[in-house]
């Protein structure tokens, strides 16, 4: 019956969200179960449903959720999906680490300003963290600290708690942006802050979905130690530059993000080029994802500097070195995509 194909075709179209290997195995069964769930046995009603019925949004959402889990594969997934899954998980940890380092910076500057480090001299006037004097400034401090909690929860494998805290932490930023956009209080073109919101706030929160039940656990101690290490190796030297009157050498956040990813690519390069079997390409793929994020943010945030040709040139130079660095490890990242092993065969009935 041609009309019978209508609802079925619509559902099969939804199933195209799933990876090919999975559809080969499960599609027919899923279609049969779906049609069973919609057809009642009443001829008139069934004809109507078949002709005009569509998969509900809950059905579509359940297939989309399954697709996300399969594409960002766990340990039993085919190699390429596992590589994408691992790279996404590492990239989320890295971006959350960056956010947590910013939070730690706020926390330590606040503690320093309150003279909680008695052995340190008073901070210079320009670095004193003011006491929150209004609700928005108090929320700003809370958001900075929330990213530290979210990162620690992620490293300790409390994935859903981390995602919940991070999701809460991005709400004030969104409210501020919308408020600024609609009241016209914030300067045009205002692209950089929106890019920051989408690329460094919303993207990692959504991508935390990659930490699903099938995902292998990342070792927590290296990631936890990365937070103080990142602060000491990145933030402290920048503070020192700033304190010594060399603030012109301190890059903006977008530039710093590009430089850090570039350095990580260069550190990775010897192993990526060694063609050793141990190199699965997952870390290189992680760096490609981070470079995409950093590069996109650099491009959009240049819009904030349209008035200053020198800063535009600096931004373009940062972008260029990032592209070169990521190009050097691209072949290793591609290795993670190659030789996709078949999934474990599903035993046939009988």
């Amino acid at each position: 019956m041609s009309s019978d194909l209508d609802l079925e075709d619509r559902y099969r179209r939804v199933l195209r969200l799933l990876p090919g290997y999975y559809r080969d195995e499960w599609e027919e069964d899923m279609v049969a179960a779906f049609l069973d769930s919609r057809l009642t046995g009443d001829l008139d009603e069934d004809v109507y449903v078949v002709l005009f019925g569509r998969p509900s949004w809950q059905e579509v959402a359940s297939v989309a959720g399954l697709a996300a889990r399969l594409y960002l594969g766990g340990a039993t997934a085919p190699r390429r999906y596992f590589a994408w899954g691992q790279a996404t998980r590492f990239a989320v940890l890295a971006v959350t680490l960056v956010q947590a380092t910013r939070g730690l910076d706020v926390l330590l500057l606040t503690a320093w300003s309150r003279r909680l480090f008695g052995w340190l001299p008073a901070p210079p006037a320009g670095m004193v963290a003011a006491m929150p004097s209004s609700l928005p400034s108090a929320v700003w401090y809370l958001v900075a600290y929330a990213w530290i909690v979210a990162f620690v929860m992620l490293a300790l494998r409390y994935y859903r708690i981390a995602q919940f805290i991070a999701a809460l932490a991005i709400v004030p930023d969104l409210v501020t942006l919308l408020q600024g956009q609609f009241t016209g209080r914030l300067p045009a073109p205002y692209v950089g802050p929106w890019a920051f919101f989408f690329l460094l706030n919303l993207a990692p929160v959504l991508a935390m979905t990659a930490f699903h039940r099938d995902a292998p656990s990342a070792p927590c101690w290296p990631w936890l130690l990365a937070l103080p290490a990142n602060y000491l190796l990145v933030v402290v030297p920048l503070l020192a530059l700033d304190l010594n009157g060399n603030s012109a050498w301190v890059p903006d956040f977008s530039g710093l993000y590009c430089i850090l990813v570039t350095l990580a690519c260069l550190v990775r390069l010897p192993l990526a080029r060694s063609r050793q079997a141990a190199s699965s390409g997952v870390w290189s793929l992680t760096l490609v994802l981070l470079a995409t994020d950093a590069g996109a943010y650099r491009i959009f945030s240049i819009a904030d500097y349209l008035h200053d040709r020198h800063l535009i040139n600096v931004g373009l130079a940062e972008l260029l070195i990032l592209l070169v660095a990521v190009g050097l490890i691209a072949s290793d990242a591609a290795r993670a995509q190659a030789a996709a092993s078949a999934p474990p065969p599903y035993p046939q009935p009988g």
């Binding site: 027919e28 049969a32 059905e59 359940s62 039993t76 009935p349």
Partner: protein
Amino acid sequence: MTGQAFFVLTALADGPRHGYGIVGEVAELSQGRVTLKIGSLYGVLDRLSAEGLIEPDREEAHDGRLRRYYRLTQDGRRALATEAELRAASARVVRARLRLTGTEPAG
């Protein structure tokens, strides 16, 4: 074990079922609290089969389509029994606490 996986295994405890049969049985067992969408069901079936807790039983033609039936494996039966015991033990502890605080009548 997730609630969905627990109910799917329970639905297969008394015999093989096809996909939609499992959905219906899970809804009945959970008194309507768990309504599996097809994408969610096959996510659970895929995971349980990878863990060796269920396996295909047979295929039957129905209205021109093949329905695949699934059954519990021995490992699946053991895992379900263990999970049921764990949940029953947890329920006993909760009930004892509630009795102690007088929020549930004894007996």
